[in-house]
Symmetry: D2
């Protein structure tokens, strides 16, 4: 094995350059992984184009990418759960394990978490990475590296649906049918829901939602969503709404379409923080409005669903690039939303 | 017993007249109750002054009042849990018992509920009323009728704190220290919380909050609430916020003062339905924003706390009127918020 | 329509006679249903053969049968959710709707419940029955009456898995692969579990378990279950155990095979009440041992899963009889456990 | 500060000798604490007298003691939450923070936990100890060191009551009124319960239960518990039973006295693992039988209740010894159960 590796470095806004850097050395409880596939996340694109998300500001040189999979090539002296040669997917955030959030099972809220590709922590658009063995999960032989990389976004939908404690027999609405909307759809189906309405403005995405099992799809450019949801539910409204589009008006519409006692799950970050909500609907309807920040304790379940073929991540991938083309991949994802769903970089 | 009774009838906006009406006859599963005390609720005042709340419009003649207690004077043929002479408090809403909400334990959301003093259902500012024996609860000899009438508002605070699944050791903030804010305070204390911050703009109410066990009080006219809460919590924010003031700015402030993973409980109805909320705080902070509509399954617990002296409802009562003075009671409650907390009508 | 109907009446232990009885008349909130299919439940067989289950003693003449479906032929004056001609399945127990259990969502524990074929309440081995419209559920055109009758046993497995709050990614063990074991299996699969071990002593049942999606099956006559489970789980034990066999030794084994923090769900009634359990395993392992009594709030979810083809009830049916053959059906189910799974009576 | 300290070492069954040992040196995330008070736990007595508990076998020399408090005398280089001079209580078990149990909030089940006085990990009957700063909690100036040491047993009762999700208004039965029974009582009262029945065979303990707020007490030597509980509850049974006595017959009685839908919480370890339970009561009554192993996430809440004076730990202490008398303290606790409740060693 060589001493150095290729790394796709963000050197400025909209700029990626390939550099040679030393291959990192795993600590005693870490493994060294040869990266095989990295999904392009909306947050990567946002950092690439805008240079920041909220208070997180990129200071180049910086490495993007956090949805990934690979092969273990070396293990630390105290690692017992993995062997060189294991095909794995990696949970990108390592929490401290000691704070109140960590101790009580909500490690996604750990203030000390070290999360790939969230400034100032570098990500994984590169050939090798070291990672805590505890947050590295073997995958089945049948599962491709591409699919395994998408366990990360799947985790978001899986966690959101778990946090809402969804039950079979109920009706769910998903606002937005991009990658997160679609993995939410798949998670709901995996959890036994059959009556799911998917919404988007791009037909490609709605067609995919339909293929993946949405019973109804609504193109919000062509139909009035609130009205159409009322028709579908015969005036009752839905039991659960998942907002994954990150839109102001979609966020506002959540409380309009949900029934009394229902749940509104907010996953997508709108571009502006302040959104007018009908709080009387929240109070009189005794709603639960639940925010979602990443996920916790989802990888074993998501890997299991993927291994067992209960979710289809392969068909979300519409475009593929090489590590050298990381910049093109990010640009493509940014500019071709209507024609793409998931863009991946394969190594 | 006479055949007729006195009834305080709302004959128009701001008008109450005393009429004689027939005493009702209990059905086989009902009891006839001689009313002894009726609390004046903010909703009574609102109907009295404005003639409506949202879509609920008073069509006079109408009877207000739903927080009440009394003495059983007659029982229906199939009533087994009560006897004439029993001193009781009554849960004012009778749900259908058959719909999905009723069957799953959320009967407060029953669309077929019959609730006193919610148009077009008459309330209890009168001498006698019939009521389902199942929703009529005996009280201990030590408990006064006045206190028993206030089990109804106590239920709101008790339910809100239960829905939030509060735990001892956590920090709670209560926005508003009117009757609902104060019974929320008492419910939180009864459930083992010791670190509670009460907020209001009237000193009388804050003084009462302090007496009832609030560790900190903030007069929002004199101190910047968000800033003061951060000081008290050393920058961390609170675990739970209960909004009972029904204000637009207080509702907005809930998501500013709560910590990550915390809960925002919305109890008070703001005067305008649309309120700008910082939804990014909800999402990034993974908050639960929970609406509260009345209560369900609270009376046994609230009566128990009252019987055992674990809550103090007597000291909430600042002013008393007779049934003949019902109009004055409503006017007083409307015009003297700064000097009063709870106004009751005793018979 | 004639005035009378055929009824299969249990006239003594092991005796069924066909009688003519008047067709009942629905009350205002009831419907009259032409029965189309009735599943034979283990409890029916038990009453038929033994004349009692615990304190419930059959006093002939008595009508068995409670797993059923049919067609609405007449509706009461206040029924709005159904029409004559509707194809339906019926929840066999009508709770009081008023007691503490009913109000808090656990209506299966209602002490006043009226439940078909539980002495002294007659069941539905007959041509017509009246039933509360609220507990009568329309089924999709694609669903057969036979399948619809089996929503009742499905409810048991669906409820048991719901009460255990099962999560995808976890490992479940089902002791017993009779009808209840198999619907538990199907419910777990519907809720996203992929790693399920089914156990029985009859190969026919294990083969069915395999077809329905069990990843592993164990014939307890051929393999030592505890040992085999440890192998499968690499020594860790399972997350959930469902005891549906009603055996003493299977009940005892539950706490041996479950991992720390796991859940033991007891569904099957053992023939003797007192069973030696290793309580130190319960305490040190911090287990949840959860009893299951019938179900509550399951029909909408189960009908939805059936309508959507997410569960396969048809393939559970191995033998069919006519109403006139009800006695034979019961005898067959009693004597041919090894060769049958579900026996139904079709009309 | 000297280099060595006094340590009370168990040198054989029933033998304690005082030795001089080096004072330990805190790691960067640890603090050095001067021990001030150590409670004698039933497990300490058991190890002292029997040399083992189940699979945990003492290999002398061994140090007992894990309920403790003290004063911080030195802090590691990365400790931020504590200062020398801080008065503190210490959580005796340090979990790994990485396993599935730790990550999901159930760190008490961590297989890698390092817990004081659980062989082979030494305990704290000594002058100084080092401990993780994250598991060391400051106490209020009003709280004595003796009381602070008893936060550990309080945690058990607090956790058990929390795991049972107890609600005000419900009726609880506590079997056993030793230290754990009494802190369970206090935890239930702190969480708003008023109707609590305490049981024991020693009058001293029942008198203490009465003083601490039990509404009813039963001396099991004088009254038939099951019968008396039925009388108190008018035949209904209790909502919750907490078994803290660790008796075979008390464990058996739990399912007899609890009502349908109730909860049985097993805290005390019986001397024999196999106990005959009426499992039909568990199934038909749809009980939750919940094992309790230590506690997790309880210290902040328990310290808060103690600081606020909501629990009374001081009055549990009946006898005091010095470090030199540790052997006598253990012997006394073993031989004088009837006359003592909590024995502490003060330094």
């Amino acid at each position: 094995m060589a001493d150095t590796m290729k790394v796709a470095v963000m050197t400025g806004i909209g700029q990626i350059e390939i550099e040679e850097r030393p291959i990192p050395i795993p600590k005693e409880d870490e493994v060294l992984i040869r990266i095989k596939s990295v999904g392009v996340c909306g947050s990567d694109v946002h950092y690439f184009v805008e240079g920041k998300i909220g208070d997180y500001i990129v200071k180049p040189p910086f490495i993007l990418g956090h949805e990934c999979s690979g092969e273990v090539v070396e293990i630390g002296s105290r690692v017992e759960n993995l062997q060189p040669g294991d095909r794995v997917t990696m949970e990108p955030g390592i929490p401290c394990g000691k704070c109140d959030y960590c101790r009580s099972g909500r490690y996604n809220l750990c203030p000390n978490v070290v999360f790939w590709a969230t400034p100032p922590v570098d990500g994984v658009f590169c050939e090798y990475v070291t990672h805590s063995a505890s947050f590295t999960y073997p995958i089945a032989p049948e599962v491709s590296f591409e699919e395994a990389a998408l366990v990360e976004p799947l985790s978001v939908g899986f966690y959101a649906s778990g946090r809402a404690k969804v039950e079979p027999g109920r009706v769910a609405l998903i606002l937005g049918s991009g990658p997160i909307g679609l993995v939410t759809l798949e998670s709901l189906i995996a959890r036994g829901l059959t009556q799911i309405i998917s919404v988007d403005i791009f037909d490609l995405r709605l067609q995919k939602a339909k293929e993946l099992g949405a019973r109804w799809v609504i193109n919000a450019k062509e139909e009035e969503v609130t009205q159409r949801v009322k028709e579908i539910t015969q005036g009752r409204g839905v039991d659960y709404v998942f907002e994954t589009a990150g839109g102001v008006s979609t966020t506002q519409s959540t409380v309009e379409v949900v029934k009394k006692g229902g749940k509104v799950v907010l996953v997508g970050l709108p571009s502006q923080s302040r959104v007018e909500l009908d709080v009387i609907k929240i109070i009189d309807g005794e709603l639960d409005v639940l925010g979602i920040f990443r996920y916790a304790n989802t990888y074993p379940g998501c890997v299991d669903l993927l291994n067992a073929g209960r979710v289809d991540l392969a068909s979300l991938i519409t475009h593929r690039f090489s590590l050298e083309e990381t910049g093109e991949a990010l640009k493509f994802a940014h500019e071709h939303k209507a024609e793409s769903i998931k863009v991946v970089v394969n190594l």
